[in-house]
């Protein structure tokens, strides 16, 4: 089975600091891979490289066999790579429903002219985007907040909305950057359930970064561990949990 995402020797430098140092691993289709490591290990940098926000200084990132080098973020999104953000980049002024319609809007080829004249095609597509968004909201259990402004919601719901927005892209690869940050244990358990349901229903491949070990261990098929920009371990959850290198890396940083 060819890997959907192939990270090969990726390096990233910020001035004098080496954020990523020759990181290599693969994510197979239909699997949920965890990416963990102490703070500053380079996890978000890696995400930013995969979705095109940052340029890699060395190595390759291949997606479905294709080298992503030079492709701008919106092109990668159209290829099926979606992500959520650690710091929540919701469209705060838009309603929840509108947040989920925007990815569909992005795919739609109709230009401003059809919109401006309210051509039947525009109206049909608008209706379809609306329906798809609502269906997703139902799937995620947040249909009741469809009309609420994004910025007015509690964090837990906001994270759910951002997840829905990523799903609205019908992604093949979903990058989740600390989706459980700010959630309590009940909400995290809910999230774990949602992620499993997503995999079941859509077959989406996922790369999950989080500090909540219960979530990671529960949901991920296998896990890669980063420390100081280097891959220090890779394997199934049970093995990673016991791995002395991993334990040391985490204890090395202040016990938070």
């Amino acid at each position: 089975m060819t890997a959907l995402l192939d990270i090969a020797g990726v390096s990233k430098r910020y001035g004098g600091v080496l954020a990523l140092d020759g990181v290599s691993f693969r994510v197979d289709r239909g699997r949920i891979k965890g990416l963990i490591g102490p703070n500053g290990a380079g996890k978000t940098s890696l995400f930013n490289c995969v979705c095109g926000v940052l340029r890699v200084d060395g190595g390759h990132i291949r997606y479905a066999g294709r080298d992503l080098h030079g492709l701008r973020p919106h092109r990668r999104a159209r290829m099926g790579i979606a992500r959520t953000f650690q710091t929540l980049e919701l469209f705060r002024e838009l309603t929840v429903l509108e947040n989920l319609m925007v990815p569909v809007d992005a795919r739609s080829p109709r230009g401003m002219l059809a919109d401006a004249l309210r051509l039947p095609r525009a109206r049909f597509e608008e209706h379809r985007a609306d329906e798809r968004a609502r269906a997703l909201l139902h799937f995620l259990g947040i249909a009741d907040v469809a009309g609420v402004r994004g910025g007015d919601l509690p964090i837990g719901i906001q994270r759910r909305v951002e997840l829905g927005r990523a799903l609205a892209l019908r992604p093949t690869l979903l990058l989740l950057d600390e989706p459980a940050a700010g959630l309590d244990s009940r909400e995290t358990a809910d999230l774990a359930g949602v992620l499993s349901r997503i995999r079941e229903r859509f077959g989406t491949t996922m790369l999950l970064v989080d500090h909540d070990m219960s979530l990671v261990m529960r949901v991920c098929d296998d896990i890669a561990v980063l420390d100081y920009g280097r891959l220090i371990a890779e394997g199934p959850p049970e093995r990673i949990r016991e791995d002395p290198t991993v334990v040391r890396a985490y204890l090395g940083e202040s016990a938070a």
């Binding site: 701008r72 919106h74 979606a82 002024e93 990815p103 809007d105 401003m112 525009a122």
Partner: protein, 335 residues
Amino acid sequence: MSGAARSRVGLAVVVAAVALLPALESDFQRGLDSDAVIIALLVLSVVVLTGFVGQISFCQYSFAAIGAFTVGALMDGHGWSFWLALPVGVAAAVLTGVLVGIPALRLSGLLLAVLTIAVALFTDRFLLVTGTWDGFSGGAVPWHPERPSLLGAPLTGSYAYYLFVLAILCAAILVVWNLRTGKTGRVLRAVRDSELAAATVGLDVTAWKLAAFGLSAGLAGLAGALLAVRIGSVSPGSYDFLHSVQLTALATVMGVSTIASAPAAAIGTVFGPELLSGISVSSTWFPLLIGGTLIVQLVLVPEGAVVRTRNDIARLSRLLSARRGRDPAVAGASR
């Protein structure tokens, strides 16, 4: 009658009144009315750029000048028909807008504002100056484009021209409203909220911003062309930097996020000075009043006069209907 139907009827009544009342006015009055309609179109261009995309521009009149001078040069200098010259003028303005938008993609809002001032001054003091490109600016003799005929009927009368530009304004408002409530509005608001997220959900932020610039400049160019034909003469002084400043200031006072600001600001621009003369104050005080009002508005009413008025009216009507016991569910919600 449902709420939506009621507001549609109300709108129709307003449009009918606006169209029919000037039949009773003098030629001079109707000339001012036409000017108000054209300025509403200009304010609409500000709403598109600033309200939708969040960029501030001080060169809208420069885009208008592109439209005006292109039409003037083609009609008066080369004998083109208005109906051919107009789309060319608007296209030229759109192109200019996209050109100005390109540096805007890399600049913060602040620096973009500086750039638009540079564009405005460049247009005023180089592009349109006699001797630079007289084939475009007309040189020492301003262009004199003539009123066209529409389907055989000449638009030389003040009332006829007024109805013509009013129809164009209504169409423009409808188009902008459709865009705003549809995909374009959503996309632009999303870009405004978070460019990063917008890119990662597949939006080509660059293309959309340039499109917004093009649309804004196109509306301004259209207004410029209509103004040129309304006055019958195209001179650079009517499209200068100070005009752009005043336009943006008044649009901000009314509130740039809403389309309704367009007619409100236009009425203010055209009839404000008239009002001042009426109470024996020189109309040259007008820009000062705009400036003062803008300062007050920014400090006290940031959302703009139109939005504030709308909110106040909405709150008032909720309170009234609650009190009358018509809608008990609202009574608890009214603040």
